[in-house]
Symmetry: C2
Subunit: 226 residues, 2 copies
């Protein structure tokens, strides 16, 4: 029984890893579609999101099945519950990558916003891409220095997000209303993507160390509004 | 043992109900702070969010404790996992109500946006308030006609959200850039609030009927972007 359970936990771990990898690819491509105005890549991101959603359903079913059949306790229970939550978070990140790609596609062949706002949004996108990649490596290696790195990266992303509002409001930057709308939405999606990566990092850190890492309940995010 | 477990499940249900009630109050007050430019009420919403976050932590701890000690199966297991997820969703709704109140506070004593955009945002807020109230009644009564009502209300909210973009882009509506930013963010927060209510409604429907209700994975939300 225990052998089977261990195999199932391993399967769960590898499914989560594969889901994190697909999310990392999605945000990389979403960033690329913004940077190069590439509608083909934008559409790949949009289409691929269905597979991320399917993976979440699979992981969910597997977790519920494991809880019912194996009735895990202690560390195993923590593992299964964390998997449930990480899958939910990763699914949401897939949605956010899709939303960004949808903006790139919607404005094609123009970039959604002109410079210098575009440059700032791309810098935010680079941070989101890094977050996605670090989460894959963190799940793979359980190296907690990566968890700390993801948090630092996210603080930088939040700072860029605050700067994006200043830039959007600066009358020296010529922007149509559509461009203001797009810049606000892209900023928000990227900032949320980063928050979710931090949330996954916190869960992995908790699993590895056994120490709960307090949630910040997106205080940063609220601060960015005024 | 079973008697204790039933008591604990009941406690869990009443904690969820209390959390849903606090979220409903938060969105009601956030809407009021927008409608009347009331900074006192806006601050109440912001301060009260900490209690919603605490409730989530309590429900989380209780669910994990129940899973570890009682090792529930079948319907009981489904109940506990759903409680975990609903608490997470309600916590997020509390954040969104807080963000809306933060915008109202940040622009005080002016309303964040002028008419007719304000009117549309307030209509969206009314739908969010209705969603919050219906979720409380749904958790209390388990009356599935409410779940259907929540979904219909959310479709209307999505339609209003799409209209908000048209209104924001219409040059006939005089808006500063700050007002465009605020309108986009408020629209987004309200629309997400509605999505989360639908997600809670779906989970309750699943618990009551035993039939999974497919997630829409916020397709509507993506549609609103182009």
């Amino acid at each position: 029984m225990r052998v089977i359970f261990n195999q199932e936990l391993q399967q769960l771990g590898s499914d989560l890893q594969s889901m994190a990898q697909q999310v990392a690819t999605a945000i990389e491509r979403a960033a690329e579609s913004l940077r190069h105005g590439d509608i083909i890549i934008a559409e790949q991101v949009i289409d691929a999101d269905e597979r991320i959603n399917d993976l979440q359903r699979d992981i969910d079913d597997m977790c519920v099945m494991l809880l019912a059949r194996q009735q895990p306790v202690a560390g195993d229970l923590r593992n299964v519950i964390s998997a449930l939550r990480m899958a939910q978070t990763l699914e949401r990140q897939g949605d956010l990558a899709r939303h960004i790609a949808a903006i790139a596609r919607g404005r094609y062949p123009e970039p959604p916003v002109p410079e210098p706002v575009l440059g700032l949004i791309l810098q935010m996108a680079d941070h989101a891409v890094k977050a996605g990649q670090d989460v894959v490596r963190l799940i793979e290696t359980q190296d907690l220095s990566l968890a700390a790195q993801i948090q630092t990266n996210d603080s930088e992303l939040d700072a860029l997000h605050r700067r994006s509002f200043q830039m959007i409001l600066d009358p020296a930057n010529e922007l149509s209303r559509q461009q203001v709308v797009d810049a606000v939405l892209m900023g928000r999606f990227l900032e949320r993507f980063g928050d979710h990566s931090t949330s996954v990092a916190r869960r992995v850190a908790y699993l590895v160390s056994g120490q709960p890492v307090p949630e910040t309940h997106d205080a940063e995010d609220a601060d960015a509004l005024h």
